[in-house]
Structures are given as structure tokens and as C-alpha cells.
């Protein structure tokens, strides 16, 4: 079972209700005027931070993500646990927020987007060709091009 929760973080003013809240991050009483309320707990603004990038979740947005007993911000959650697919060239995972090249339905790492025969990367304006789901530069494509293969695109 996967526990992914998108929680809401809300900033509530804390008046003296008689029972001072205890921060779930530092286990101390919250004496600030404003208190973050998340996961049914109360936090100092400084205590509710992303485990990955250390950003204050109260400032960043109104949602926090929790997974694997970690508190994460939206970006880091997607970066760590997002399912983005695999590169069509090397079949490895593509991390989130990384620059990719797309060709029809295929997605490639930026480094993987090169002619698969001569390993040359492309310049802006170059034509590349898709043959048997392989990326080919113009030379390699025309070198082996015997029949009419219409799967070509201009970059």
C-alpha cells in the first residue's frame, strides 16, 4: 500500500485559548502569533520544512506531500517519487523536471538524443529521422534508406 497524501497546510492565528499548542516539529510550545496546521498537528512556521530542499512549506504553497514518513514539498515529491517514464534510448528512468527531447511518442534524455549509429548529437535545424524507432541523422538515414520510409521529421 502506498501512502501518498496531499495534505493541506493552513496558517491559523493562534489566540490564547488556554491550551497552548505544541509544535510537532520541535515539541515546544508555539508562542508565535501564527501557527501552521497540517496533518492534524500544529507546527512552527520554521519547523514544517521539506525534507529534501528545506523550504518552508508555509511559504511555498498550501499543500504538502507526505510519503515514506517524510514531509516533502510538491516539487521534491514529484522529483523523488514521480513516475515520468523511461527514456526510449537507454530505457532508464527520466527524473522529474529534467529537460527531455520528444519525438512522436518517445521521450529521450537530453544526452540520449543523438543519432544511434554515429552518436552525433544534433544542432538546431538538423533533420533527424525515425526508423524502426531509432533516431538517425540524415547521413545514416539516407545511407540505409532503400525503401520509402516516411517516418522523418525536421527538428
Amino acid at each position: 500500500m502506498v501512502f501518498d497524501k496531499e495534505e493541506s497546510v493552513s496558517l491559523v492565528p493562534l489566540q490564547s485559548k488556554g491550551k497552548p499548542r505544541v509544535c510537532a516539529g520541535c515539541n515546544r510550545r508555539i508562542m508565535d502569533r501564527f501557527v501552521l496546521e497540517a496533518l492534524d498537528r500544529y507546527w512552527h512556521e520554521d519547523c514544517l520544512k521539506c525534507a529534501c530542499c528545506d523550504c518552508r512549506l508555509g511559504d511555498v504553497g498550501s499543500t504538502l506531500y507526505t510519503r515514506a514518513n517524510l514531509i516533502l514539498c510538491h516539487k521534491d515529491y514529484l522529483r523523488l517519487f514521480g513516475m515520468t517514464g523511461n527514456c526510449a534510448a537507454c530505457s532508464k528512468v527520466i527524473p522529474a523536471f529534467e529537460m527531455v527531447m520528444r519525438a512522436r511518442e518517445n521521450v529521450y534524455h537530453l544526452d540520449c538524443f543523438a543519432c544511434q549509429l554515429c552518436s552525433q548529437r544534433f544542432c538546431v535545424g538538423d533533420k533527424f529521422f525515425l526508423k524502426n524507432n531509432m533516431i538517425l541523422c540524415q547521413l545514416d538515414y539516407e545511407g540505409g534508406h532503400q525503401n520509402g520510409n516516411s517516418a522523418d521529421q525536421a527538428l
Partner: protein, 325 residues
């Protein structure tokens, strides 16, 4: 005397009328033949002053004027060569940068001293001295101005052509200035110093490049926050241990679900490695889709690992709630 060849002839602008030894004259001749008129810069008459910086930006070494004129734009080949200029030459030269798109230098390759054939000193001296404009951007970037190409690339938003990449079809590199031995007496010291300087500069830029590569991988808030080298290293260590712990707990944990309350308790306990604080609590992270199910691995009966990256979560509380540590 080959003096009359020099002035005015198309390919001979490099030749400087010299009254010195014959080596230079021969070099002058050979240079004409070998070059295709690359340098259209100004020439400066030489004298016997050992090292003098003229207003044209030329350096005179041992009486031989090296042309470093800024409008020698005819260099077609993109040859990353270490050029030796004085600082003010560099600064004025940078203002006239070519706008031609050139591939980017890979910093990882050290300037390889090519085997120096028996050549005239003048030829080598000449071949070495190229104007800043004539240089492709990689060479100059490699030398002095690393921020420019890097900023340009960063502004593109991509990591396609990191500035540390050599193009795969680059031209063979020319001998670097430090290979020149102008003279056997006294002058090599200058050459050696210049060589050391440029090597150190190249090494430093390589290190800086590695640091910036590492910086790209570290998550911060805001993402473009400036980190010092020290911070880069420390945050990298933190991040590595964080990911390592995450991976350990995901792979070694049981897949049975944990109640929500327990998860919160674990959260509150401030441990970096989820689920490993108590032997009685199985890991609460379940089985993510991408990982294989580890049903058979026993729940984490281990003690809490040394909190290496503990400060990541800032929840460092003393333990409570009956979990053994």
C-alpha cells in the same frame, strides 16, 4: 632577406621585418606558406626590447613581435589554443567577441603538449599568438571567461551543451604557447611561468565546472540559491545520505500498510530514516509502483541508524513514545 615579402602581401602579414637572426626570417617564410592569410592584423615593428606591450596589444618577446591584433577574423578553423595575453589585452579583447556560434570546450581534457617537431621558433611563436577575436569561444571561455557561456547556456534552460563538452569533430589542437622555446637562455623562465599560470587557470576552471555541475543536482529553495563551495559539498553529503536512507527503507521495508496514526508518530519522532526507529513498527512506506515488492524481507529490526542527515528534517527531538534507540 625576406623582408620585402612581408609588408603588404596577402599572406604575409605575419612577417615582421626583423633584423635578427636568420631563424626568424625562415620562419617568416614558412609561415607565409603554411598559413592562408589568417592574420590581417596590424604588425608592429620589432626592436630588441625583450618584452613590451604595445598599444596594439602585441607582446614582443625577444624582439619578435607577436601579433595579437583584434581584427584578425579570418581564422576559419576553430582551434582551441591557449593564448597568452596581458590582462588589459584580455579585457579589451573580450569586448569584441565574435558572435559566431562555436562548439564548447570540454574542460576535462588537459592541454596536451604535442610533440614539438623541429621548427623554427618564430613559427611556433606565431602560431601561438592569435587574437582574441579569432579564437573560437571555447578557447576563450576556457581561458578567461567562463561565466559568459555558462550564463548563456543556463538562460536557455537546458543542459544540452554543457560548457564542458567538446564537439566530437573538433580540429586537432595546435601547440600551446608553453611548448615554444624561444631561447635557451633566460627566456624559458617566462615561458615556464606562463605555462604554469595557464595550467593552473585551466585546472581551476575545471574544478569550478565540476562544482557547478554538482550544484545543479542539489535541491534547494529557492532553486537558484547561491551556494558556496563548502555548502555545495555539505549539502551534497546531506542529500546523498538522505537518498541512501530513503532507498534503504524502501527496499528493506515490509510492504504491509501502516496505520495513519503510526505514520504520524513516525513523522513526529523526527527520524530521518522512516520506519527504522522501532523494531515493532514495520516500515510504513509500502511498495511504490516502481520498486519490486519486498514482502519477504523482515521488518526493520535494526536499531536506528546513525542519524547522518538528521538535520535535514530539523525535527531532532529526543525520543519519546517508547521506541528503542
Amino acid at each position: 632577406m625576406k623582408l620585402d615579402l612581408c609588408p603588404g602581401s596577402p599572406g604575409a602579414k605575419l612577417c615582421i621585418p626583423l633584423k635578427q637572426d636568420s631563424i626568424r626570417e625562415n620562419g617568416c617564410q614558412d609561415l607565409e606558406d603554411s598559413k592562408e592569410g589568417n592574420f590581417t592584423g596590424e604588425r608592429v615593428k620589432t626592436d630588441d626590447a625583450p618584452l613590451r606591450n604595445t598599444r596594439n596589444g602585441t607582446i614582443i618577446l625577444n624582439g619578435v613581435a607577436k601579433e595579437t591584433a583584434y581584427d584578425a577574423l579570418d581564422l576559419k578553423r576553430e582551434v582551441p589554443v591557449i593564448e597568452l595575453l596581458r590582462r588589459d589585452d584580455i579585457k579589451t579583447g573580450q569586448q569584441r567577441t565574435d558572435s559566431q556560434t562555436v562548439p564548447i570546450t570540454e574542460l576535462r581534457r588537459p592541454p596536451v603538449p604535442l610533440p614539438l617537431p623541429h621548427r623554427d621558433a618564430l613559427i611556433d611563436a606565431r602560431m601561438v599568438q592569435l587574437s582574441p577575436n579569432a579564437f573560437p569561444l571555447p578557447a576563450r571561455a576556457m581561458l578567461y571567461n567562463l561565466a559568459q557561456p555558462l550564463a548563456a547556456i543556463n538562460s536557455l534552460g537546458g543542459e544540452s551543451e554543457q560548457y564542458g563538452m567538446y564537439p566530437s569533430n573538433r580540429v586537432k589542437r595546435r601547440p600551446a604557447p608553453y611548448e615554444v622555446e624561444l631561447d635557451e637562455a633566460g627566456q624559458p623562465k617566462i615561458v615556464r611561468r606562463i605555462f604554469t599560470n595557464s595550467r593552473e587557470r585551466w585546472r581551476q576552471q575545471n574544478v569550478n565546472g565540476a562544482f557547478s555541475e554538482l550544484r545543479k543536482l542539489i535541491p534547494t529553495h529557492p532553486p537558484d540559491k547561491k551556494l558556496s563551495k563548502n555548502e555545495i559539498l555539505r549539502l551534497a553529503m546531506k542529500y546523498i545520505s538522505f537518498l541512501s536512507n530513503l532507498l534503504d527503507d524502501q527496499d528493506g521495508g515490509a510492504t504491509d500498510g501502516v496505520g495513519l496514526a503510526r505514520e504520524d508518530d513516525l513523522l513526529l519522532q523526527g527520524t530521518l530514516s522512516p520506519g527504522s526507529s522501532c523494531g515493532s513498527l514495520p516500515d510504513g512506506d509500502g511498495s511504490p509502483e516502481s520498486f519490486t515488492e519486498d514482502q519477504d524481507s523482515p521488518p526493520a529490526q535494526r536499531t536506528v541508524p546513525v542519524p547522518r542527515g538528521r538535520d535535514l528534517r530539523r525535527n531532532a527531538r529526543p525520543q519519546d513514545g517508547g521506541s528503542q534507540r
